[in-house]
Every structure is written in C-alpha cells, then in structure tokens.
Amino acid sequence: MTSTAIIPLARLRERYPGPKLPRILVHRGTAGDALGAKRYVGELRDALGDRADSVYKGASDGANWAAPSATVFQGTYTRRFDRLDLNGIDEVVACFNGDCGDEANYAGTGGRGLTARLGRNDGSLGDVLAQGAYVALDRALDGTSEQLTDAIEKGGFTGRGGAHFPVAMKWRLAAGHSDEPRMLVVNAEEGEPGVFKDRHLLEGDPHRLIEGILLAHHAVGFERAYVYVNGQARAARAAFEAALADAAEAGITDGSAWDREFKLEIHVRAGAGGYVCGEESVILNSIEGERPVPRYKPPFATDRGLFGRPTVINNAETLAAVTTVFENPPPPTKLVSLSGDVPRPGLYEVSVDGATTWTGLLAMAGGNPQDAQAILLGGPSGTFVMPDQFEDPLEMRTLGAGGTVVLGADADIARVTRELAAYNMRESCGECTPCREGTIRMVDLLKRPAEHRDEIASLIEVMTEGSLCQLGGMAGRPTQSALEQFPATFDD
C-alpha cells in the first residue's frame, strides 16, 4: 500500500481509476441523440479497430449548436470536433492518432466553474474523480459546518432558480431550527420553457449535484434529501440515479469513504408535468402525495416545510454551484440557457461579475446586437430586454433561472406575447382566483389589446398582488413588458 492510501480521495481514485488516454468522447445525452449522435459511437469504434475501447459515450457539454460532436482527450490538451453530420469523423480519428490540426482550436484540459466537467466525462465515478469531483467535499469535511457556511456566505452564493436568496442565510435558518429532523429538497423540476440547464447538469455531471447535496448536509444536517426531477427529463433522472448508486457503492453518500457516518437518505422523485410544479411549495405537496398546488406562506419552508419539518429547498444549479466554493476566487457565474436567433445557441456559464453585458452574452453565441429586436428573459414569467439595455451588465437578480430567447428582426412580438399568455392560462393550477380567472381574461384582452390598455394594466396589478404563487404573480410580466416596449405592435 502506498503512503497516499490513507488520504480518502486518493484511496477513492485508486479504487476508481480514470480513463486511459488518448480517448474520444461522443457527446450524446438527450441533446446529442436528438441529432443522431449515437451513430458516431459505432462509426468511430469501427474506424479505430482494435482501439475501439477508446471511444466513450458522454452527455452534451452544453454546446448544442455544435451537436453532433465528439471531443478528443490527448492528456495535455483536448479538442472538440463539431457538426459531425456535416464534417464527418476523419478529423476526429486523425486527432486521436496525434494530428489535431490547428493549435488555435485546442482547449485546455480543465475548466473552472460548475460546467468544468459537463459532458466531458463518460459518467463513471473514476472519470469525474480524476477531474476533481468531491475535492470540495473532502476539504469541507476538514472543517466545521460553520466554516463551510461562512465560506458559502463569503463566496456570495445565491439561489440560482430565480429568487436569488442567499444560500448561507437559508442554510442557517434551517440549521438553527430547534425542530429536528430537517429535510432537503432539491428542485430539478425545471419546467420553465426556454430553460434547459438542470437537464444538462444531471445528464452531464450528476456527481456535482451529489457533492452539492453532501456539502449542504455537512452544513445543515438533514435526515433526508429529496431530488425532484422533471418527469419528462428521463435521461437526467437515469443519469443521476446511476451516479447515486455509484457514489453509494464507493462509500461517498454514507461517508464511509471518509471513515464517517453521514446519516442521510437521498431519494429521487419524478414529477409529472406542470409549470407550477417548479414552485417550491408545490414540490412539497407533490412529494407528500397532495395535489400539486402552492401553499400559503408563512409558514416558510425553513420553519415548516416537507412533512412539517424544517426544510431547505435549493435549486439543482445552486447546489452544483456551491461545489466551486473553494475555487479561488469563487466564480460568480450563472448558467444561461440561450436559444432563438443566434448562430450558436446552447448552454453558457457566464460570469456575473459586473463586466459581462448582454452584448457580451450575444457575442459568445456569435450573435450581433444589431440583429436582435429584443431578448426574452424568463419565458412566460419574463420580460423583454431591449437593445438600449444590451450594454448593461448581467445581474444575478435579473437573470432569474437564466432562460433567454433572442428575438431576431423577423420575430413577431405580438404573437410571442399571446403565446406566452396562452401558456400561462393552460398551466394555471386553478388554486387561486386571480391566476385562474386572470390568465383566461388576459388571453381574451390580448385579442384587441389597443382597446383594453387600462383593463390589462389593472388586471396585471390584481394578478401580481393577489396570486398565491409566482406563476400568477409574474404571468402579466411579458404582456406588460411588450406593451411598454412595443406599443405599435399591438395596434391592429
């Protein structure tokens, strides 16, 4: 036995070695497979002959525009080959054999932030351990729960599901509660049209979420964690469950890999549809087997949440983000799901450092600000970001869940607005009157909005103030924003 064997992480890495290099990773996952990425695994294996076992299946790395794609890992550098449907696999094979072409196209071997390993692993524990998984947990376990929470606070981590609530504050509220046991609910419902980050995270790096859950457990101390995954996101749930089984087998989830006892049960629950199911109190009802409708607040979940216990509800991205707490400095980043009229739509991790602007975001995706009428931010609960705001810095508070659709010159704003209003009407759960009746009325008024400006304004006010949850509370935002920014569009 080597001298490093007493170090828990070294022990784990010895037991679960990383993959051999060089290797080729085909980016499959839901996104890759929707563009036929599956066939390139077979094609590449055929082309490699007796080295066929160097071809691995990975998930999407977020660069949806490049799919179907494959990445060659050479040890000292990596290179992704895009659009295999157009470019074929010859270059991929050449790179595997050592000729990777223009060095300008090389990427580094490691990234930072919460997408560093995203889709750049084959889903095995050994692969992610070799890329730094569970390093933050290992370090946190060296210190007390207070030290971890302090580091989270200092890192400025806030909720990434849209509400932007400070993570450390939420954790302390639950940790300080005299009532035990405590519950953790992980919101991976992701039902907001235009957002696809949690699916990518769970498919492409599920161990990051497991690490985040264990960090939260170290800070707060839970009896149970429930990971609530969108019902349609089957691949995401399967990938997470597989990773969870691997982590359990390795003694990560029960703490035995560190010669400790974590005493945490982790349950995975599937949702069954409905935008409102992303609302945190709806998730509580859904898990308990009640009708999926919002609860009145107070009591707040940190006092009386799941099964009446003090409960922390964190978004999946939030818990993924806290694994970067010891990176120096912790990157204030946000996952942005970017689609619409840009050349390179996909998932982007952007710095929310006060320097990145909307123009900068567009540029990442190859978009030109002059070509955009507006950016729809936040889908059916969102607003239109106008060109005169494109030079403003991105802010965590305004980014919400990070769903952005770029509306090009030809986009019909009135049509988009009406579709969003109709969506809110269909998705209203019916529990409270302002939303149930208001969303129907809104669709009706939007048929002839020019004649009903005042009525629309007062309807939005009632829905905003009176709705039980944010589905109704924010349902009027796209309409309000469209009428303000594009008044002429609605004059028929």
């Binding site: 996104a31 049209p193 019902g231 409905g274 898990i287 087997g289 009708r291 970017l338």
Partner: protein
C-alpha cells in the same frame, strides 16, 4: 381529460399486473401516491379507473383525492395516448425556428409545449417520444410517413 365512465377502453391485464407488482413494492404511505401513479402509467401507458382505485387503496387515500391529484398533472393520462402520434414543439424558440411550417408539413401531428431542447429548435417528438432537433419540413414529411 375525461371523467371515469363505464365505456373506458379495455385494459391490458398483463400490464396491469406489472403495474400492481411495482406499486406493491412501495411502502403504503401517502407520499408514494405520485410514484405509484407513475409506476402504473409506466406499465399501462395510461391510468384506467382500476389502476387509480388500486393506487388509492395501496396508499390509503380516498379514490376521489387520488383522482383529483391525477387530473392536476399534465403528464398523467386518463385515456390511452393516440397511437403513432407525433408532436411538434411550439415553444418560443421552436416557433421562431419555423414550427408553423412543420405543422403544415405534418397535419396529423399535434402541438406540444416546450420540450426543453430550445437550442436545437425546431424540435419534434416521434410516436416513441424520441426527440429530434433542427428538423426541416422535408425531413419531417419523410420521417413521419416512413
């Protein structure tokens, strides 16, 4: 959505048995209501009245409440899905990318809300719920008629 009535479609008894076996493995607690309904639907592809009754008795919740819960979830089906049905996503990104022309190309396909593959718009799903991205009208005609 429709009320539970006596002219329900026939039930695949073998699938029902599979569903029952899955449900029987779950603790008889209320918080297994949705997992049990999902297990039944996984086996049967929809939720006949008998399945709802079985779940209700297993988790010890009144049938009326189980029914009320079932109707609140858009992905739980109280009648069989239309066989061979394709869906065309009409979310904002897919709409911008030409979902309307896909609907024209495949008039038998149904509209569906966001499928969360917005960066691959326009997106369609086939009869097995397999997703396809960046679909052109020609390609859809070809696939849907194949």
């Amino acid at each position: 959505m429709r009320l539970m009535s006596d002219d329900s479609p026939p039930i695949d008894l073998e699938a029902m048995q599979t569903g029952i076996s899955s449900v029987d493995r779950m603790p008889r607690d209320r918080d297994r209501l949705l997992p049990a309904l999902l297990a039944m639907q996984e086996a049967l592809d929809w939720l006949p009245r008998e399945a709802i009754r079985y779940v209700a008795s297993h988790v010890r919740v009144p049938v009326s409440e189980v029914y009320a819960t079932t109707t609140a979830y858009s992905e739980l089906r109280l009648e069989p899905a239309v066989a061979g049905q394709w869906h065309i996503c009409t979310g904002v990104a897919c709409d911008l990318a030409g979902a309307a022309s896909l609907l024209k190309a495949a008039p038998d396909a149904a509209r569906i809300d966001c499928q969360f593959l917005c960066a691959l718009a326009p997106v369609v799903t086939d009869e097995h719920e397999q997703l396809f991205g960046r679909v052109s009208a020609d390609e859809l005609r070809e696939r849907a008629n194949a």
